[in-house]
């Protein structure tokens, strides 16, 4: 899932500025399950903003609504009327949700209520950890299902480095050394020979180094055959 954290109420208030009618838009997917921007959080942020602005002497009209996914036009169409009726939209979606609203409603001012953090999973209740860096050229088949790009602090492809100590990373002793994890797992599964194979240099063009990425699937596009 995409994992995000809420911005502070002070920062959200400064982003809202002079807007009088504010629509807080939650998202029912990733940020709901990481408790950052779902229906519950949207209602809490809206209530907090109503009370905070009232205490500041300028109570604002703050309402909230949550869509199943902010990152698809169809779900945004469902709340078009509410968005048009607001001076400003405070998106509690990830960065994709904020941009989807801005793109779909070009005349509407949209601000983020979250800081989108990473792609990861909950390792225990209340703890989320990064697992994927979306490099576009997955190497998990060579590394026993442990990603050296996302989980090694240096994204090394030939680790561990000299900073690996007792299975931990020199960047922060709370971070397990990804290459130690890879070695241990391959060892346990009897697949250490995978590390002996010479790998060609990784093609980073599929990552951010190739600029903004796009996938086009002609088998799925409507009207692609006619083109």
């Amino acid at each position: 899932m995409i994992v995000a954290e809420q911005k502070s109420l002070d920062e959200i208030k400064s982003l809202i500025g002079d807007a009088e009618r504010v629509l807080v838009v939650g998202c029912g997917t990733c940020v709901t399950v990481c408790f950052a921007g779902g229906a519950r959080e949207a209602a809490i942020v809206a209530a907090s903003l109503r009370m905070a602005t009232k205490l500041d002497g300028n109570g604002k009209d703050v309402t909230d609504v949550t869509v199943q996914r902010q990152c698809e036009w169809e779900y945004l169409d469902e709340i078009a009327e509410q968005i048009e009726g607001a001076d400003l939209v405070l998106s509690l979606g990830c960065g994709i949700g904020v941009q989807a609203i801005a793109e779909h409603f070009p005349r509407k001012w949209v601000v983020p209520g979250l800081n989108t953090s990473f792609m990861g999973l909950p390792t225990e209740q209340g703890v989320w950890a990064e697992r994927c860096a979306a490099c576009g050229d997955c190497v998990l088949g060579l590394t026993g299902g442990i990603c050296p790009i996302a989980r090694c602090s240096k994204s090394l492809l030939n680790g561990p480095c000299g900073g690996s100590e007792g299975g931990h990373c020199e960047i922060n002793p709370d971070i397990p050394c990804a290459w130690q994890l890879i070695y241990d797992r391959l060892s346990a599964l009897g697949k250490l020979d995978l590390l002996m194979a010479i790998q060609p240099p990784k093609n980073w063009k599929t990552s951010r180094d190739g600029g903004p990425r796009k996938i086009v699937r002609d088998d799925l596009r409507l009207g692609a055959e006619e083109e």
């Binding site: 519950r40 209602a43 209530a47």
Partner: protein, 66 residues
Amino acid sequence: MDSPQLHIIAYCCEHCAYAAADLAGGLRMQYPPEVKIVQIPCTGRIDVLTVLRAIEDGADGVMAAG
């Protein structure tokens, strides 16, 4: 000078605190009129939103009893 009228919302679990308040009523015991009791199935039902909405609607304080 009279103190201002306060509004305290007491969310009481129906299995214990609400039953205790009920019993107190049966025994003609008195409690301040500022306290408004709301019966809930369990204090676990109380959410941040429950508290925020009570305060937003004018409560001066919220009590969870269970």
